[in-house]
């Protein structure tokens, strides 16, 4: 019973992917694409070393082969169906001129700006067949372009350094890392298309039961990304990831014109784990019923007071307000707000809170985590990084772009074309966990002590956005889908409100966590930033925050439709 005991005590159960070491003896599995990239890299690196005015010290090729299947239906009819299509291949060449200390990717300050992780890179589509001659011809051209641009950029960097004041952060431009070799099997996206076309169509019919729903949809997408990386340092990576997402969405309009939208989604790693019909039906019915409630709900008034962010909404909240601000490169770029740059070793949240970003875990409980990977997109092994320990900021999410006191990557360099420090699986843990009914009581107590009539519960939140740049307000905005007022007067029932926008400043929100629930849950999604879209996850318990500020969302002005839905029009003049 030892196991059972352990389980009761454990906060979460993660299954750790037993990733193989740095070098795998599996030459056989190397794809034609990888081998071809390696050959052309070796040739160009040798030849181009002699060509420029400044030294070429690093080159890499990073290619993504992606394949997708999409099916969508609306109101009982298919709106998108898979047809003959082939995987796409896209390659980015990175060229570094100068030295690790100073190279062409160095930020250029002042008018015009420029530089950064994406200079000295060029991208191209590649042939989709394994034809080395054709592939090398494409790579050759993009390499030539990237090399010329990098040479020009490096000249600019040197001049810029001479005319501007000393930088605050004088760390290197590129970290020294050990090369990695890691080869896995490539994957394909599989789906029983006919089965799912029928299923999706049939499920989308369910929305026809609700006359107040104005747009709705059920969709399924499956995608595989095969990634290939070779560098002049000897790194050679071939990896693969696959995700499926089933998505249900619906919109309605309140009588005053406010648009309302809800969605639900299921994320899995393989076809067999896709939800069954009754799970999807339940999600549809829930959305439809909640939309009904929402369209009759009171419009929110601006409010500042205590609130509970329920697990998945808390996870989005942490991803947006915290995760993006601890990405390493943002600590160096002088155009960034650098909220946490000088907070290392300082307390930024209560003692009972800790946060890690751990790309090496594949699952949370039974659910897959999308932010899993073994090697990052610069070929550095993924690492579990403890960012906050007992409330104290300890680390940043680092790519190979060093910042002051952090000279090395910690395996978080990610992107579609070039890489910067990005999140993988952001995992929020707490030692002050209480059951949910108790957290609710604490919310009411807190509202009372602040003299408020009610507190708020944020049940679900759609993807938010956050602004990290200087000169922009250092705030975040997340769009809550369902928000409930919980009255201090316990004889009053909870009340759904609509039109809520969260506003506020990030640091303040973090410091004000009072307690957390014991209901950890994961949010899987795709995160877009300067280096492209990448799959990510965040895991969090519900959190009770002392003060959260909300405003009323700007509302659309147009009224609900004038005529009833055709299916519900009793007065049909048209011929049937």
């Amino acid at each position: 019973m030892k196991i059972k005991l352990t389980w009761t005590v454990a906060v979460f159960v993660f299954s750790i992917f037993t990733s193989a070491g740095h070098s795998q003896e599996s030459k056989k599995q190397e794809s034609v694409l990888l081998t071809t990239m390696e050959q052309e890299l070796n040739r160009s690196f040798e030849k181009l070393k002699e060509k420029g005015t400044d030294p070429l010290y690093f080159m890499s090729y990073y290619a993504i082969e992606s394949d997708e299947i999409n099916i969508a239906a609306n109101y009982g009819a298919i709106t998108y169906r898979p047809m003959r299509s082939r995987p796409q291949r896209y390659l980015t060449a990175q060229v570094r001129i100068g030295s690790h200390k100073l190279d062409n990717t160095h930020q250029i300050r002042g008018a015009g700006g420029g530089g950064g992780a994406f200079s000295g890179g060029g991208s191209t589509a590649l042939p989709i067949e394994d034809d080395p001659d054709a592939i090398r011809t494409s790579i050759w051209l993009v390499t030539d372009r990237a090399f010329k641009e990098a040479q020009e950029q490096f000249t600019h960097v040197k001049t810029n350094r001479e005319v501007m004041v000393e930088e605050e952060d004088t760390s290197d431009d590129f970290s020294q890392e050990k090369p990695s070799v890691y080869i896995t099997e490539l994957d394909k996206v599989t789906l029983d298309k006919e089965l799912w076309v029928d299923k999706i169509r049939k499920l989308s019919t369910l929305f026809k039961k609700y006359p107040y729903i104005l747009h709705s949809g059920v969709s399924l997408s499956g995608g595989v990304q095969n990634r290939f990386l070779v560098s002049s340092e000897g790194t050679k990576i071939q990896s693969s990831s696959k995700q499926y997402r089933l998505f249900v969405t619906a919109q309605a309009k309140a009588d005053d014109g406010m648009g309302l939208e809800l969605y639900d989604s299921f994320e899995v790693k393989d076809e067999a784990s896709l939800p069954n019909d009754s799970q999807i039906e339940a999600a549809i019915v829930k959305i439809a019923e909640n939309l009904k409630k929402l369209s009759g709900a009171t419009i929110v008034e601006p409010y500042a007071g205590p609130a509970i962010l329920v697990n998945r909404s808390a996870a989005v909240f942490f991803h947006e307000i915290f995760g993006h601000r601890i990405e390493g490169h943002r600590q160096k770029n002088e155009e960034e707000g650098q909220t946490f740059t000088k907070k290392i070793g300082k307390k930024i949240m209560p003692d009972f809170m800790s946060i890690a970003d751990d790309p090496t875990v594949t699952k949370f409980g039974d659910s897959p985590l999308f932010g899993f990977f073994q090697y990052d997109d610069e070929g550095v092994p993924a690492q579990n990084v403890q960012v906050v320990e007992n409330g104290v900021l300890k680390n940043f999410l680092m790519s190979r772009s060093p910042v002051k006191d952090f000279p090395k990557s910690n395996g978080h360099g990610r992107g579609q074309f070039g890489a910067v420090g990005r999140q993988g699986n952001l995992i929020v843990t707490s030692t002050n966990r209480v059951p949910m009914p108790e957290l609710r009581k604490m919310l009411i107590e807190e509202a009372k002590s602040q003299g408020k009539n009610f507190g708020l519960i944020f049940n679900d939140i759609s993807g938010g956005f956050t602004l990290t740049q200087r000169g922009m307000p250092q705030s975040f905005s997340v769009l809550p889908l369902i928000v409930t007022r919980v009255y201090v007067d316990e004889s009053k029932p909870d009340e759904i409100v609509r039109g809520v926008n969260i506003v506020g400043t990030p640091i303040a929100s973090l410091e004000q966590i009072i307690a957390t629930g014991n209901d950890e849950a994961q949010f899987n999604g795709y995160c877009g930033a300067e280096s492209g879209w990448i799959p990510v996850s965040a895991v969090s318990p519900s959190v009770l925050v002392k003060n959260i500020e909300i405003e009323r969302r700007q509302k659309e002005q147009d009224r609900p439709p004038i005529l009833p839905p055709p299916l519900y029009d009793t007065k049909n003049e048209e011929k049937k």
Partner: protein, 553 residues
């Protein structure tokens, strides 16, 4: 009719999209069983009768158009596929107007497209049409109010109406199956692109095949009812680009368009055209650079077609007074001489081929649903009418079946001459003109569309294939670079002679509309060519790995 909305520039090396397939042919061939047509008409009837906010009027005009496209594209480079894809989409365009024919809600933006399902499902169609109509009606009310307010602030003499009244067109073409040998074209694209593996001087190259097929439905509150299914077309294209030793970018492309597979050239013809293309680009690399020039220029064959497409076709669109302030105002030139007396022009979208060659500007009905018509545009050098849609202009009030997305536009423009001379004589005349100017050589353009663009009131595309023809011995010498400068409406009057040849030039431009120019070679008395710039980016620093490896062997 061609599908006006679909197109994109025909050369696309790495991408693509195209068309096709028979799989979306429904069983219903009759009107009664056409789910789409029924849904469109039923929602049209309901909205026309009852879509009204209190205090406001019903729409006076509602039109729905559905375009159902299937596309197929295969592209290849250096012998390997770079893309292959097939896609199908259906889009719904709604036009809901409030006000009246005299003054309505049109012309201030709006006109949204919406998605509509691929399955033939009556309920889902009605639902999509209902929501789009509702959205557009509300937007139209808002637009009309803003438009009226604006017009009150303007002093305007005689404002043309906003929309012309037209007789209903009812035309239901049968649904038909469109098929082609996908694998043949895919393999040919690969094979064609592999030809460039014999050309170390060419840096970038590719070939692509694309086909598109569409069914279009159009219904409106004036009882127009159309199902147009003669919309298939395809093309095959190959392209080569490189840089000369001094860095000048050079390249050429060919494209064969057709409505059917039978009209497409044979494989051998495409392969030999590709070899010619590659040889020409290599020859260009080695050719001398163009110098500044002022004097006579002979536009032969394709180059004459390209000249008229750029200099004439799009200047024959009738404009409303508020548009006439920009660009060339041909409305003011009606009845006045703009070309030599021996030139007559007409446009005929109803002619689908000429001397066995497909004309890509053809259509049965235009974008307003009005039947395509032959229109005489220029007689003895004077414009007598212009391209019209249902949007009236001051001088011309009615459509002539040339609507492209609601505005007049060219289709198949025939340029005819009553003063033709054999080509040998035309070249002789070119040299005489040059000699009279004391020039050592004259210029002969065989193809336009190169890098760089000229300047002037009318833009003549830069030459791709340009020759010096020496006065002393008539010898032709290929040159590279250069751009035509200072083209103006006046340039059209400088056409002093035409050949007895006729070229069909097909192209897809602006808004994806196909266009054909059917014209003779022309001699222009005086035109400026500007020499190419002095500085270019360096050619690649290393060799293409494929040719390097071959050398080592």
């Amino acid at each position: 009719m061609k599908n006006r909305k679909w197109g994109q520039t025909p050369f696309i090396l790495c991408l693509g999209f195209v068309i096709f397939l028979g799989s979306f042919l429904y069983a219903q061939n009759t009107e009664e069983k056409d789910t789409m047509l029924n849904a469109l008409q039923d929602e049209l009837a309901r909205s026309s009768a009852r879509l009204k906010l209190e205090k406001f009027d019903l729409p006076y005009y509602i039109a729905y158009r559905v375009d159902d496209f299937t596309t197929y594209t295969a592209s290849a480079s250096f012998g390997a596929l770079t893309g292959e894809g097939e896609a199908r989409s259906r889009s719904l365009d709604t036009d809901v107007r409030v006000g009246s024919y005299v003054l309505d809600s049109s012309g201030y933006g709006g006109g949204y497209g919406s998605g509509i399902p691929l399955d033939d499902d009556y309920d889902a169609f009605r639902y999509a049409i209902w929501l789009a109509t509702d959205r557009d009606y509300k937007a139209a009310l808002d637009t009309l109010a803003r438009k009226k307010a604006y017009l009150e602030t303007q002093k305007m003499e005689e404002r043309p109406d906003d929309f012309s009244k037209e007789d209903a067109v009812v035309l239901l073409q049968p649904l038909k199956k469109f098929t082609f040998a996908k694998d043949r074209w895919k393999e040919l694209a690969k094979k064609t692109s592999a030809i460039f593996k014999q050309y170390p001087d060419i840096n970038q190259s590719g070939a692509a095949f694309s086909a598109a097929y569409s069914n279009r439905y159009l219904v409106n509150s004036e009882n127009f009812k159309e199902r147009i299914t003669d919309n298939a077309f395809m093309y095959f294209t190959a392209e080569a680009q490189t840089q000369s030793e001094d860095g000048m970018p050079l390249g050429d492309v060919f494209t064969y368009f057709a409505y059917t597979e039978e009209q497409m050239p044979k494989d051998d013809e495409i392969l030999s055209a590709t070899t010619r293309l590659a040889d020409k680009v290599v020859a260009l690399c080695k050719a001398p650079k163009a110098e500044d020039y002022r004097g006579p220029v002979l536009f032969e064959g394709n180059a004459a077609g390209e000249f008229f497409a750029s200099a004439l076709a799009y200047n024959l669109i009738s404009k409303r007074p508020e548009e006439a302030e920009y660009g060339i105002n041909m409305n003011a030139k009606l009845g006045k001489v703009i070309m030599p007396k021996f030139i007559n022009c007409y446009d005929d979208p109803t002619q689908f081929e000429f001397n066995g060659k497909p004309l890509m500007g053809s259509y049965t009905v235009d974008d307003d649903g009005v039947k395509g018509q032959r229109v005489d545009l220029i007689q003895e050098g004077k414009p007598i009418t212009l391209y019209m849609s249902r949007v009236p202009t001051k001088e011309i009030k009615k459509t002539n079946g040339h609507s492209q997305r609601g505005r007049g536009g060219p289709a198949n423009l025939f340029v005819e001459s009553s003063d033709k001379m054999p080509m040998a004589e035309l070249k002789k005349k070119l040299l005489e003109e040059a000699d009279a100017e004391g020039l050592e050589y004259a210029l002969l353009a065989k193809k336009l569309g190169g890098y760089g663009s000229g300047s002037g009131q009318i833009n003549i595309p830069a030459p791709i294939e340009l020759y010096r023809v020496y006065v002393k011995d008539g010898k032709e010498e290929l040159i590279r670079g250069g751009s035509f400068e200072g083209g103006s409406l006046r340039t059209l009057r400088d056409i002093i002679a035409t050949g007895d040849d006729t070229t069909v030039y097909n192209s897809f431009r602006g808004r994806g509309a196909g266009i054909s120019i059917i014209c003779p070679s022309i001699l222009i008395k005086e035109l400026d060519l500007k020499k190419p710039p002095q500085k270019f980016e360096k050619p690649p620093l290393t060799k293409n790995p494929y040719f390097e490896v071959k050398e080592i062997k």
